[in-house]
Amino acid sequence: MDNNTTPAIPVKRIEDSKFRYTLREMSRNKNAYGMLAPFFILFTIMTAVPVLMSLPMGFTNFNMVSFPQWVGFENFYTMFMEDEVFLISIQNTLVFAIITGPLSYIMAFMLAWFIHQLPGQLKTVFTFIFYAPTLAGNVFATWQLIFSGDAHGLANAYLMDMGILTRSREWLTDGNLIMGVVIIVQLWISLGAGFLAIRAGFQGIPGDRYEAGAIEGIKNRAQELLFITIPAMGPQLLFAAVMQIVASFAAGDVSRFLTAFPTTDYRAHSIMNHAFDYGALRFEMGYAAAICFVLFVSMLFANWGIKKLLGKYLDG
């Protein structure tokens, strides 16, 4: 508490109990709390309360009609011991997250960096191109057209035309192909937010840093990137990483909208799909909440890992 600084008046140190000191600090900065209030009041009502309400639900049997019934760890036992589909969905989510997460994170960073090197107008054009998928929202209908299973599907038509395929493939229903298709579409969709955050981060690095770097003997782009750019971008890198964790762990929309639900043999069934299945279709809210809880804990671990990795670039 010692390094608390006052905004306007210099601190007059009074030997005081920690409690009273805190109270005084709070009342002197009441404007600051006033500025926090609108956000945190709305946040509490619309996000925090629902989240807190859904955590204990994982330990109940709740079908939305009768009052939730406390069942202890039964949901978790069922999940890991009896629910084979859940185990498949863990596996899928891990494969999915390990492929799409790092890949689209690295892609977002590299693309933002490359674009930053281009002259003015080209920068605008390319930023637009790579962010366009996120702006466009759901163009699942168009992806369905591309991967349509009959010969009219674009992928089939052109691959057959080029002689790579001899007959049309069922891209969206063939168990061996679904995962690949879902990964491609996910990469296409999830590049956006992290990419734009990193782009904005590049914009904020003052030009004189690079000037200083050039004087200090930085010779090429790679050195510039390693010694100047990355160390100055910790906060944006963390933001993009968190976005990526959420996007890849909580993925489910792509397979839900693009392919049949659930996917053939559950080949692309993610944890989120499983929760959706129980929560929104079977109304077993207790079990769905338990699934989400497991997902949440695994995301916490991933987040912790990312922070360790980016550690030296973050100061808070």
Partner: protein, 287 residues
């Protein structure tokens, strides 16, 4: 001595490297743009071209028929198209505007004011970023039902305003401003409120412009599917999605709806990009 002012400050990298980068970006860019290009193409295809084989990536006789049909289909609906459009614009403007304002203020406090309790608030935000789920959706419904907000504009605005994402994003940028800038403002007699709006915000312009883009894109896609049952309050995407889902016979109209929906965020983005983001390139203040 002649002072050479280069238009573009660059301290490393060769022309050859620039060209290589350009080519690589162009190839990847084509992949990114392809589905969007295809949606546009589909929306101006006349029906007879839909079933040509092999499928074509261009249009022989472009037509506006699909868009005309889209508006005709929506004109005969119980609720006029203009009402849906108004709902969408209203929701998007309110959600984006309020979100940027309250998230920026709160983020300023989280990033730059050291008052008791700030660490707790910061932790809450970081943890809640990771909680996206279908289960909370039901709980949000229950909370809103208790507050009597179901079937009002509150139901499609309030839950989407105070997102952890927006405050986290602003905080990450504001944290990079040197403390000395804020101390200087306080020395000059500015309180927290004025420091935030007159000193910090102008210095993190790329951040809040980006946040406007994030928020607008997300708000424009709000459907309010389980919070709104009154047809007159539903935003545009709900109707257009119904049209998109109506199958191959309406594929052209569906594509027209897709294109109609994707246009406003793209226009906003281009406007922000060319007018604001690029001119900010070298004004950054960092420690």
């Amino acid at each position: 001595m002649k002072l050479v002012i280069k238009k573009r400050k660059k301290y490393s990298g060769s022309l050859g490297g620039d060209i290589a980068i350009f080519i690589m970006l162009a190839i990847l860019g084509a992949f990114m743009l392809f589905p969007i290009y295809l949606s546009v193409i589909q929306s101006i295809k006349p029906p007879e071209e839909f079933f040509l084989f092999p499928p074509r990536l261009y249009v022989i006789n472009p037509t506006s028929q699909n868009f005309v049909e889209l508006f005709e289909a929506t004109a005969t609906m119980w609720i006029p198209f203009s009402r849906y459009l108004f709902n969408s614009i209203f929701v998007t403007v309110v959600v984006t505007g309020v979100q940027v304002i309250i998230a920026s203020m709160a983020a300023y406090v989280l990033a730059k004011v050291k008052v008791p309790g700030i660490k707790v608030f910061n932790k809450i935000i970081e943890v809640s970023l990771l909680f996206t789920s279908t289960v909370t959706h039901i709980m949000v419904y229950m909370v809103m039902a208790q507050l009597g907000m179901i079937d009002t504009y509150f139901a499609i605005t309030l839950p989407f305003i105070a997102t952890p994402l927006s405050i986290f994003f602003m905080r990450q940028f504001m944290g990079q401003l040197p403390d000395s800038v804020i101390e200087a403002a306080h020395m000059d007699g500015a309180g927290h409120f004025r420091t935030c709006w007159q000193v910090v915000m102008p210095n993190v312009k790329p951040a809040w412009i980006t946040l406007i883009i994030f928020a607008f894109t997300a708000a424009w896609q709000i459907t309010g599917w389980s919070f709104i049952f009154n047809e007159a309050l539903k935003p545009l995407p709900t109707v257009l999605q119904q049209i998109q889902l109506s199958g191959i016979a309406r594929a052209g109209v569906g594509a027209a709806a897709t294109v109609f929906l994707m246009t406003p965020p793209m226009v906003l983005f281009l406007f922000c990009q060319s007018n604001v983001l690029e001119t900010m390139a070298h004004s950054g203040l960092k420690e």
